[in-house]
Symmetry: C2
Subunit: 198 residues, 2 copies
Amino acid sequence: MARYRVGIETRDRILSATRDLLATSGIDGVTLRSITERAGVGAGSFYNLFASKDEVVFEVVRASIEAVDPDPDGSGTEDLAALVDAFVAFMTDSAPIARIYVQLAVGRGLVDPAIAERVTRAHHRRVARFAAAWRRHDPTLDHHEAVRRAECMLAALTGLGISALMDQEFDMHAHARDLLPAAGAGEPRDGAGEDRRR
Amino acid sequence: MARYRVGIETRDRILSATRDLLATSGIDGVTLRSITERAGVGAGSFYNLFASKDEVVFEVVRASIEAVDPDPDGSGTEDLAALVDAFVAFMTDSAPIARIYVQLAVGRGLVDPAIAERVTRAHHRRVARFAAAWRRHDPTLDHHEAVRRAECMLAALTGLGISALMDQEFDMHAHARDLLPAAGAGEPRDGAGEDRRR
DNA sequence: TCAGAACTGGAGCATACACTCAATATTGAA
DNA sequence: TTCAATATTGAGTGTATGCTCCAGTTCTGA
């Protein structure tokens, strides 16, 4: 059944109230009451427009993550530094959204198989992008080694991101830079093989 | 106040019931009711022995972490490999409890300041231990550089641990080994920049 | 103009949860 | 044996949640 104009406006108000609450109070700050109060709407109106509370939360998070994708077109030419910078930018510049994302991915992904599935798929896409960038950086790497380095790099970035979300003083950017291979060399500074400098 | 023998036994039953529930049903499966039912104890007895539900959950997680500590007495002689192995052992061998730990630390630590405080304190202790091990490994490192390496290493381990919890196929041990400095060398294989040695 | 679809608020439902308390029983040192 | 300290019980309290229901209002297009 087609929506009337007022219905669409109400829907937008609810989405925007949810977005604000997620940013300011985290995932636990979002209750049906807080949403409807902030949106200035009754519970009945809410359920006239959304099937459940989760539906509106997922919709907001989905839209927010899409909004900060560094390469939504998938042009596939970005280098390692750009990928790392994009990750750092998401974690630091979009901290409130990043916080929600991490809470959903880790806090609920470890419990809810449906969420785990979504998170794992996104993770594998990211690993593939990092691995491709590794091979552009050093064409002698075989596939497995590139994937391995990508996984280690992403793991380190994830851990650093969590540190940054926990501790406002933490300089994620400085730490993340050290994960990159030394400038001009074909060798990584991070977790690869032997000590090549001797 | 000293406990009577029966009180200590009841306490043990509660701890063990909580541990079982955490392992089998995850953090959401642990309610006061489920704990007391499984332990065969009234709610009042529970609160005679523990201040809150959280307290008993934290205690179980703390004990599980301590159980894999390579140097419980704090003699300060453990090397990097032992620390890394302990972290990996906790994440893989005690996966159910590790899952709880990560959910608590990340899922709730990003929201609840009291939990954030605990997590941050534990994190700093861990950084200090890793940094000390770095300096034992390579006495020429200055304090800051050792801390930096410790932070990067722990961040990477955290990220790898999350991957391992999400994906049962993920070989955390293999990845974690690559974070260690090459055997016999004073140089790290991981994210330590060469530029700092000039 | 107006039928009927879409929308509205908010009281109230069912449920779940952590936690309290006052009465009663058990323990163990002296 | 005494008795203060400790342990135990479980119905009850207070609070919070997501969601339903529905009588009344507003909107829209034919």
